[in-house]
């Protein structure tokens, strides 16, 4: 299925959970925060939260800033 991931259209496995998506992307869950359709998905919901076609997903981390 196609989703918008960090602003870009991308194909990801159907029926992915947030946890599954992070695994698919090779991203360590401890170091990121995830937002789906403008709502934060907390870490305790990564296994339960299913991603649907067309969802807008943001995966963020801390970078240097003032």
């Amino acid at each position: 299925m196609q989703v918008r991931l960090n602003g870009e259209l991308r194909d990801v496995p159907d029926d992915s959970t947030v946890a599954g998506l992070l695994l698919h992307l090779g991203v360590k869950a401890q170091r990121v925060a995830v937002e789906v359709n403008e709502s934060v998905v907390t870490k305790d919901r990564y296994e339960a939260h299913r991603i649907g076609p067309g969802d807008s997903i943001e995966i963020v981390a801390f970078v240097g800033g003032g």
Partner: protein, 257 residues
């Protein structure tokens, strides 16, 4: 330490808060952070670069025990800032946020209307909100009324190094609000930091002045000393300014008189 300060539930000794952007490399940043003696460091929230593998390395270079203060830098609407603050909280698992809602790309001056709006929402959600704001006492009061834990007026535009451009407004802000006033942005060199502290600022937040100095580690040391000197001078109470001289040596008992 007797001369500590606090924001919300958080208690600090150092009155210097530093950023983590613009350093030539992470090892230099780490040495500068240590040299600054800061207990709070700001960080930004950005999209993870999915083309790169491996963990984001910034956090590994921030000395253990330093409190992270996520910011909402480069957010131009209240909504963007609110979403970024929520993501920052999820990353940090803390309640502190340096709230920025920017109104103009060239000056990076705050959009104070959006700032007050975002503050109200985030305070309701349990955030300890530290808003980066203009040197405007009326806005500072609105932010206090919105429930912000502190207010952080600018000394000059972000990264400009112009120093403390409106000390009188900063003083009026300090008179106007009861919450801590931190001077955020504009510091160029150590004397600017000292001036902010002499005015009565609770603390100073800076990034570029240290990160882009020729020797960031030495500048971090200078800033630490300046913050301490300015604070002591503020507590000691400066003498009033006089137009004419007031002799330091006795004017009587001179030879040949």
């Amino acid at each position: 330490m007797a001369d500590g300060w606090s924001i919300g539930e958080h208690r600090f000794t150092s009155r210097l808060l530093v950023g983590t952007g613009k350093y030539p490399d992470f090892p230099t940043m780490q040495r500068a952070l240590v040299a600054s003696g800061a207990e709070v460091v700001t960080v930004a929230v950005r999209r993870l670069d999915l083309s790169k593998t491996g963990p984001a390395s910034l956090l590994e270079w921030i000395p253990k025990g330093m409190k992270l203060l996520p910011n909402t830098a480069a957010c131009f609407t209240a909504d963007e800032a609110i979403r970024t603050a929520r993501l920052g909280r999820e990353l940090e698992m803390g309640d502190l946020v340096k709230l920025e809602v920017i109104g103009d790309r060239r000056t990076l001056f705050p959009d104070v209307e959006g700032l007050v709006e975002a503050s109200k929402v985030l305070v309701k959600e349990g955030f300890t909100v530290l808003p980066y704001t203009n040197d405007d006492p009326v806005t500072a009061k609105k932010l206090e009324d919105a429930g912000c834990a502190a207010v952080m007026p600018l000394g000059a535009p972000i990264g400009s190094g112009l120093g403390i451009r409106n000390p009188y407004n900063l003083r009026i802000i300090m008179e106007t609000v009861k919450i801590p006033v931190l001077v955020d942005a504009g510091v160029g060199t150590a004397s600017d930091a000292a001036v902010a502290m002499e005015l009565g600022a609770v603390a100073v937040l800076m990034n570029t002045a240290i990160a882009e100095a020729k020797d960031p580690v030495l500048m971090a040391e200078a800033m630490k000393a300046a913050i301490e000197a300015g604070r002591k001078a503020y507590l000691a109470g400066r003498i009033p300014m006089k137009l004419h001289a007031a002799a330091s040596s006795p004017m009587s008992g001179l030879i040949g008189s």
